[in-house]
Symmetry: D2
């Protein structure tokens, strides 16, 4: 089990290693939050110019993953999504997608967090909100 301290650089290096070609990056990491960012590609755009739901889910899931690292104090690639529920609040239009995850609780088995997703700089107009659980290796 690695114990790399979860800095932004370390998270992004891990993403590059494990997901070569991923559009996701970690842009902020706090004691109880993490922010993920993704340049939207054409294949993620739906008719009408909207960012697809699964793309938003994917970035919310990524932000929760980064949150796990900061919550438990180490990069833990084997933390796995146990469950995630998402609600879509309004159409998502823009070229950059953001997700900010906040810590609800961290235990020995699970980390629970809430996530907001938005486009460009409209963080006050979330396009989706989610809550989910990551399971930690025991």
């Amino acid at each position: 089990m690695t114990t790399v301290p979860p800095t932004i650089d370390a998270v992004n290096q891990m993403i590059a290693e494990h997901f070569p070609g991923s559009n996701n990056t970690c842009t902020e990491l706090g004691e109880r939050f993490a922010v993920a960012r993704r340049d939207v590609t054409d294949s993620e755009i739906r008719p009408g110019g909207y960012v697809s739901g699964p793309s938003q889910f994917g970035l919310a899931d990524a932000a929760l993953w980064y949150l796990v690292f900061t919550a438990i104090g180490r990069i833990e690639p084997m933390a796995l999504t146990s469950e995630l529920s998402i609600r879509f609040l309004r159409p998502a239009q823009g070229s950059v997608l953001w997700a900010r995850a906040e810590l609800e609780s961290a235990g020995r088995r699970n980390v629970v967090g809430s996530v907001h997703v938005w486009c460009d700089d409209r963080f006050d107009k979330p396009t989706a909100t989610a809550q989910g659980t990551y399971a930690l290796p025991l």
Copy 2:
């Protein structure tokens, strides 16, 4: 459709009318949040002295209902829970249960909110977190 302005008193009067004998009360109402409170009764206590999950769900649901009123600007008893997901974070011990709902979005059809539940004055130690959707009459 009533258009009673959603003050704390008006919400509590509505609760008393529609749910005589209910332990739930509304204690705070803001532009984008609502707080619900409930005196825990013996029948809600589980072995070990813990407040039951369904009790926590029930108060979270009540807080979301009050949130709907403030979000749409009127007491609307016919707003109905469409879906609600809840995560239990730690054991709930105490004699008073609280739930605070925050607005995620309000549209013509739905109101979406997030809720924290805690016991006594330990709001920094939520026992449950939830997200859900209320459907508005059209």
Copy 3:
């Protein structure tokens, strides 16, 4: 950790011990399913004569609990709801509430199941559907 074989009688005896006065009973237990029943009381009825959402949540949660016992092969009172999401499908009217939980997966840490809730004998008209996770003591 008790290893009482999870028969219907053993489950109901456990309910009587742990939840004296509970209206919930277990009426069926199969290898991968469990059925819970509850006589609806006046305090669970909402304006219009509908069974409340939290009552339906509570019975769904109970059915999942019984499912855990049959899935892991023992009565395990310390199995706890980790998360549960519920969707309300239609108004619930009737004097008896039912919930049937079906197994999705059982592992060392968690049991996941899906639940349907209905009134009286209208099992073809579910009033709610839910999915949730119980955490097992490790």
Copy 4:
């Protein structure tokens, strides 16, 4: 509002039109169910050879969309995911991902369904289970 009858061919033609390059196809449509299939691409594979969670979410969402068409009797591209919760049950390994959605309820405003996701021909070993709501245009 189009009223194309929701045959498998019509659904796949709609996918091809609205999502050129999509790997998703509809393979079965019944009165109350729909099956979606997707050839897994390299970019969807995670370390260890597992199909990513967001890919599974995406196919579950697609199966629910096809279910909406058969449930309401017409191809309705403007039906939008309102909320979706997913639970991951076991590692997903394989080259083809499947999702089968079953109808829970269809109303004027919403369609609710449950979905199982699996790999290759192991439909008895679901890798994920989900429930969600699609909102219909009013």
